[in-house]
């Protein structure tokens, strides 16, 4: 009973935190509420018996990601906050509640299967059994970094309107020349 209460409170708080993050009218606050979700969830994850993931979630999810968000927010600013939603809210509500309830209906109560607890350690699983995941992850990080560099790279010469105009004008000139030299076509027979 106590267990149920603790889990219920933590999960409820996480959802509340997520809602607050959604409702927050400043991006910074939103990011901090997100960190809150992360902290609460890492406790739940710890309680579920996964301390290592809890630690990583805490450090990456609550720490690193929040720092990144704060950085991004300071660079980019906050347009579109609090603007009226483009999708009618009742429609969004309806669809979300509908599919959420159905998902719960399908999933709960989950069947209890005979579970065999493996006797290896996380280290063995993570570094040996699932080593391929790790390798692909390296590829993913590599491409992510390259992508980041690519997207944020300073342009050598930013595209200026004057340049575009120049191209257009040049082409216009070419066209006029072409028209002068163009040979008149013979009318095709009917």
């Amino acid at each position: 009973m106590l267990e149920t209460l603790i889990y219920g409170l933590l999960v409820g708080a996480a959802i509340f935190s997520a809602i607050q993050s959604l409702r927050a009218d400043s991006l910074l606050r939103s990011a901090i509420w997100l960190a809150g979700v992360s902290v609460l969830l890492s406790i739940v994850i710890y309680l579920l018996g996964a301390p290592q993931v809890a630690v990583i979630e805490l450090s990456v999810g609550a720490g690193l990601v929040t720092v990144l968000f704060v950085f991004a927010i300071s660079v980019a600013g906050g347009e579109g906050i609090g603007e009226r939603s483009l999708v009618p809210k009742p429609l969004a509500w309806g669809l979300i509640v509908f599919s959420g309830l159905l998902l719960i209906y399908f999933v709960l109560p989950i069947r209890t299967s005979i579970s065999s607890v493996s006797d290896t350690s996380l280290t063995a699983v993570f570094w040996e059994d699932r080593s391929l995941d790790l390798l692909v992850q390296v590829v993913l990080i590599y491409s992510g970094v390259l992508g980041l560099v690519g997207i944020l790279a300073e342009a050598k010469a930013p595209l200026q309107q004057s340049m575009v105009d120049e191209v257009a004008a040049e082409r216009e000139r070419d066209l006029q020349e072409m028209e002068i030299t163009a040979v008149p076509e013979v009318d095709p027979p009917i």
Binding site: L91, A92, F98, P189
Partner: protein, 582 residues
């Protein structure tokens, strides 16, 4: 030998197409030469193939897995189509030497025409349904590309696409039919299907029969899928003569004739074919009667004549339909090519602006009249024998109402042909004086066709003999040419229809006294002129689709949130489906 001939008949035009393309548009003379020499050679090889007809495949190419074996069976039905395609094709190419002189993109023109000729020959000779479908589609493609040959003209583009889409819609019938046959018979071979047709489940056979009929109706421009053919007259005139009069439009008739033995047991099928033929014959003639555009009038007349062939198949007279197919190919190609000589000479397609050309274009006038004789069905032109044979068979085997309908059609034909000849060649000249009376190469092909009008009926005996030998499922009896001629001339149906023809011509001659009736019919004429509402139906479908498409474009808002809604929405729908299903 037969295998070689088949390869030549189909392959020569295709090689020619490639050569013309490769020789480049900078050398038009070379292109003209290559095209005409090769198409004549292909014509010869097709004619020689007549001596090698057979009901067995002469060439088989296994294609593996889902594609069966590609076979070529040069039986009489197929070779007839191939001969018409290659011979009329070569004449059209020769005509084009003068007609297309000075045009741009000659390479594309000749390549497409030659590609078409080869495909049309292949369509006839192929013994595998998939192969036949391939050729069927290639002919449709060439037809589209040639109709919109003058791509700068939006009307030509629209007409080309319309023709392509309507014939392709019909093609779905053939496609589904071929697939079903493959699935139930285990191969695409036409003869295998004809042999086993009766053992197929009955509902499958019914489905097949009507699938094929739909394909045939679209390809042969029969009512209600005929609207593409008049529009197709935007094509260069030799193309109209070749594709839209002499060859491709025959493919539908060929199809129903080819599969007649399998489907004649399907109740209602022969009647449907007969009714489609009769309605097309009548409506086509009516529309030809009011058309002002010379080429459109000829196109409506084609619809009407193809109706006669359908009618013939509907009453079970497969030989008569093929006989008329041959005659029609010759005389209608002649008429179209005459139009092709007249139109550039006077610079208009509108018959109201022509007139009095009898004196200034005597040669063209003569051959046009010869073609008209055949179209009306006057002796001793080939059209006389073939049309009378159809009417006689209709009188004996068909229902009375249908026969009377066809007779009415004969009268209307006489009427509109008289009107056409008069408007173009007699009366006052309304336009400018023509600049020539047919150039040299135009005259060559016109003369050849004019001779054909008087001689091809002599082939009836050979044709029936070959068909009797090589079509094991059709039950055609061999009959000598003169026997047949005698039978036709002595049949009472012939005299009735000659009387009707006289009546038709008489009505035209007496049109002044009958002006009152004409005025009474004016509102009707106006409706007919607008295509009897079929055109509006087409337009309605097109507009409906466009509106639907425009409405759907609005759903792509470009806004991220709505895009996400697509994901969530579909998830809800699938969950709901699962919920209902579980």
């Amino acid at each position: 030998m037969a295998a070689l001939l088949v390869t030549l008949t189909i392959g020569l035009p295709w090689i020619g197409a490639l050569l013309v393309l490769l020789s480049g548009d900078e050398r038009p003379k070379l292109q003209h030469t290559i095209a005409s020499i090769i198409s004549v050679a292909a014509g010869i090889s097709a004619v020689v193939l007549l001596w090698f007809t057979s009901d067995q495949p002469v060439l088989s190419i296994p294609m593996g897995s889902a594609f069966g074996v590609f076979t070529f069976v040069p039986d009489a039905l197929g070779v007839l189509l191939a001969v018409i395609a290659n011979v009329v094709g070569s004449l059209a190419v020769i005509f084009s030497i003068d007609y297309m002189k000075g045009n741009e993109q000659l390479g594309r023109y000749y390549a497409l025409v030659m590609f078409f000729i080869g495909a049309m020959a292949g369509l006839g000779i192929s013994g595998s349904l998939l192969l036949m479908f391939l050729f069927w589609e290639i002919t449709a493609f060439c037809s589209y590309a040639l109709i919109s040959f003058h791509n700068d003209d939006p009307k030509a583009v629209a007409a080309g696409i319309k023709a392509l889409i309507i014939t392709q819609l019909g093609g779905i019938g053939l496609l589904v039919g071929a697939l079903i046959i493959n699935s139930f018979v285990g191969s695409y071979q036409i003869n295998a299907f004809l042999a086993e047709a009766e053992s197929l489940p009955f509902n499958v056979l019914v489905l097949l029969a009507f699938c094929f009929l739909a394909a045939a109706i679209a390809k042969s421009a029969q009512v209600p899928l005929h609207t593409w053919l008049p529009d197709a007259m935007e094509a260069p005139t030799p193309v109209s003569a070749l594709i839209h009069a002499a060859t491709m439009v025959n493919a539908g008739v060929y199809l129903v004739a080819r599969f007649f033995p399998a489907f004649e047991i399907v109740p209602g099928w022969t009647t449907s074919v007969l009714v489609v033929g009769m309605i097309s014959a009548l409506l086509g003639a009516l529309m030809a009667l009011v058309a002002a555009d010379l080429k459109r009038a000829l196109a409506y007349s084609t619809i009407s004549q193809l109706g006669y062939m359908f009618f013939a198949v509907g009453v079970g007279a497969v030989f008569a339909s093929q006989f008329h197919l041959l005659s029609h190919a010759i005389f209608k190609a002649l008429l179209f090519l005459c139009a092709g000589a007249v139109i550039p000479a006077v610079g208009t397609r509108n018959m109201r602006q022509m007139g009095g050309l009898r004196k200034s274009m005597p040669f063209v006038f003569t051959v046009f009249v010869i073609g008209s004789l055949a179209l009306v069905g006057l002796p001793i032109a080939n059209g006389f024998f073939s049309k009378e044979l159809i009417l006689e068979e209709g009188f004996i085997h068909g229902p009375m109402w249908a026969y009377i309908g066809m007779l009415l059609g004969v009268g209307l034909t006489a009427l509109y042909v008289s009107r056409m000849v008069f408007m173009v060649f007699y009366g006052q000249s309304h336009g400018e004086k023509p600049i020539h009376d047919g150039l040299l190469w135009m005259r060559v092909s016109l003369s050849a066709l004019a001779i054909g009008v008087f001689t091809t009926w002599l082939l009836a005996g050979v044709l029936s003999d070959l068909m009797a030998q090589t079509l094991p499922f059709h039950g055609i009896h061999a009959i000598g040419t003169f026997e047949l001629a005698k039978e036709i001339v002595l049949a009472p149906a012939t005299w009735v229809s000659l009387a009707v023809i006289a009546l038709g011509i008489g009505v035209w001659i007496l049109r002044e006294p009958l002006a009152g009736i004409k005025n009474l019919l004016r509102p009707v004429a106006r409706i007919i002129e607008k295509g009897l509402g079929f055109e509006q139906l087409n337009q309605g479908i097109i507009n409906g689709t466009k509106n639907l498409s425009a409405a759907l474009h609005l759903t792509q808002t470009g806004q991220l949130n709505w895009n996400i809604l697509g994901i969530v929405g579909m998830l809800s729908v699938l969950f709901a489906l699962l919920f209902i299903g579980v």
